[in-house]
């Protein structure tokens, strides 16, 4: 019971965490990436399609990343080079991704009743660790993407706070004019951030279809990209905070499944709305912009 809940929490938290770490890097560079939902969606679809046609998990993961990177490249062209409004461009990317994945799914796999399935990514047990009661199977008998997601938390945290690259990234997000004046290349930094986020949201999408659902339905990302946006805010633009917030939101979603199964008196919609409502409450109490990068969302047209 507890074990199932914890396992479900980790399963729900992983795609959110992967996407949110990408979003964190992008936002630290000064770009608000609303298109993250779309990048997850194309990752989910292309990962499944490539695995289905090739039979190879590795090719599936590669395709998922490539597709999400391509979509983010389009977004980067718009918001970095053309300096268009990031909200409008990101929303367009989301709408486009929903349409493209839907059309291609219908065209390649038809509408017939049974959904296509693949053999999913297998969990990898980490030797004796996996045999620890309760936490063993929860933490150490998971798919490779779970280990990757959680290993990335300290890596991203230290990269942003302790490395030269992290400093440059933060400069682009806080004072783009100053960063450019120092020759750091704001366009380059924001492009790089969006490409890294492309890989991570591609993997987040791939997790949904290749490790969790093993199939695809239209709009399978179901708002998880937007939850990742919340996670970055609730985590106060910090990788450790993002990790904690992902687990918290993962637990809220897992709790909803559990309570539904046991016929709880609390309506399940309450838990579905919880991540979003929680974000609003956090924002209302902490003030929206206190910890946000100063130049977040502001287009930076180079003179």
């Amino acid at each position: 019971m507890l074990e199932a809940f914890l396992a479900s929490t980790i399963a729900m938290a992983t795609p959110i965490l992967l996407a949110a770490l990408g979003e964190l890097i992008v936002e630290r560079s000064g770009v608000l990436n609303i298109g993250i939902e779309g990048a997850m969606l194309v990752g989910a679809f292309c990962g499944l399609a490539a695995t289905y046609f090739s039979g190879s998990i590795a090719l599936g993961l590669l395709a998922a990343c490539a597709a999400a990177v391509a979509l983010n490249a389009l977004l980067a062209l718009l918001v970095v080079n053309f300096a268009v409004n990031q909200v409008v461009a990101g929303t367009a990317i989301d709408i486009l991704a929903l349409g493209l994945t839907g059309v291609f799914y219908r065209q390649w796999f038809g509408v017939t009743g049974s959904a296509i399935t693949i053999s999913p990514m297998r969990p990898i047990a980490l030797g004796p660790l996996a045999r620890i009661p309760v936490i063993g199977p929860v933490l150490f008998d998971q798919s490779a993407l779970v280990y990757l997601a959680f290993a990335l938390v300290p890596i991203v945290a230290l990269t942003i706070s302790r490395t030269r690259y992290g400093l440059e990234l933060r400069a682009a997000g806080e004072r783009p004019e100053a960063a450019d004046a120092l020759g750091l290349g704001v366009y380059r930094l924001r492009w790089q951030a969006l490409m890294i986020a492309g890989v991570l949201s591609g993997l987040a999408g791939a997790y949904l279809t290749m490790a969790y659902a093993n199939t695809f339905v239209e709009g399978i990302s179901a708002g998880r990209g937007y939850v990742a946006l919340s996670v970055v805010i609730v985590g106060r633009w910090n990788a450790w905070g993002v990790g904690a917030a992902s687990i918290m939101f993962g637990a809220a979603i897992a709790l909803q499944f559990g309570l539904q199964a046991f016929g709880s008196a609390i309506p399940y919609q309450f838990f579905l709305a919880l991540p979003y409502a929680l974000t609003l409450i956090v924002l209302a109490f902490m003030g929206g912009q206190a910890d946000a990068p100063s130049a977040l969302g502001a287009p930076y047209p180079r003179a």
Partner: protein, 368 residues
Amino acid sequence: MGATLTARLAAVTRSLGALAIAATTIAIVLLLLGASPLAVFADLWRGAFGNWLAATDTLVKATPLVFTGLAIAIAFQGALWNIGADGQLVIGALVAGAIGPALGGWPHPIAMLAMIAAGAAGGAAWGGLAGWLRARREVNEVISTIMLNFVAVQILSWAVHGPLMEPSRSFPKSVVIAPVAQFGFYLEPSRLNLGMGLGLVVAVGCHLGLFHSAAGFELRALGRNRRASAFFGIPIARLTMGTMMLSGALAGVGGAVQVSAITHRLYETMSPGWGYEAIAVALVARLNPLAIVPAAILFGALDNGSQAMQRADAVSPVLVNVIQGMVIIILVAFDALAARGIRTTLWGGAEGAGGTVATGAAAEAGDA
């Protein structure tokens, strides 16, 4: 009224050009997928305008887009990036659908007005919440409206599974609203109703308010330069609140009209994404309230035609989403290219300090 005829023509040309490029690209994609673009476009047209019934239903499907499109246009004119028209429409529909069954015995026009007022109130509350967070707590309205969309959907779902569920409790839907609260159809079997007429009136009202009132002038000034507006004493917080409430009210009326005219009760899903589609509508209309109506009819026609296309060509109706997304991307790219060499681009002002999301200049429609 400073825009010259040439500038207006250029704006119209850009909108039509964006549609043409989107259509061409989609034709190529369809060819690659092995479908015939000509057949698909022909079926889209047949489904949208092929006969009297199809054409009138295009107007019916365009009606919610008129209201959400106006909601987006008004907010974007003030550089308030309201992504929450969907949630505002849902809450408007919810409030209208909740009071609708209780209106039995009321005079017909009063009951219909009550529905519209309920929708406006619900939408205004939902939009106003985001406006309050922006004005008083410096919360980015993009994030808050996205979050409020998801919360709204869950509230509706809870309502039709719980307190508002029909007595037989077999399906997640609410009780039918009182007949006096229903709009009724003209020229049946068409589903033409008061909604589109109301939309036209509201569009004219928005145009007058935006271009011929002091508040409209202040709103457009806010959209163009927030810092200068503050300097000239424009009450930014009040204007932000008011605009978000008005924007929400417009979307909420769209929801109430849908309940009064078409569904007559609440279902778990009240919007197929009209609040997001409205962004494409508003951009094609260059944020000009009068142009919202033809732009909404265009996208309503695509929605309506996609049903026929789906049946005849086995192409997913979400092809319409591809068109919407592409039109937005091409239009903003056009604007950026047209503004090249100018320090401030159309969709993104150079100003941005204080963490606002692209406190950019509003579209050139502001000159009209």
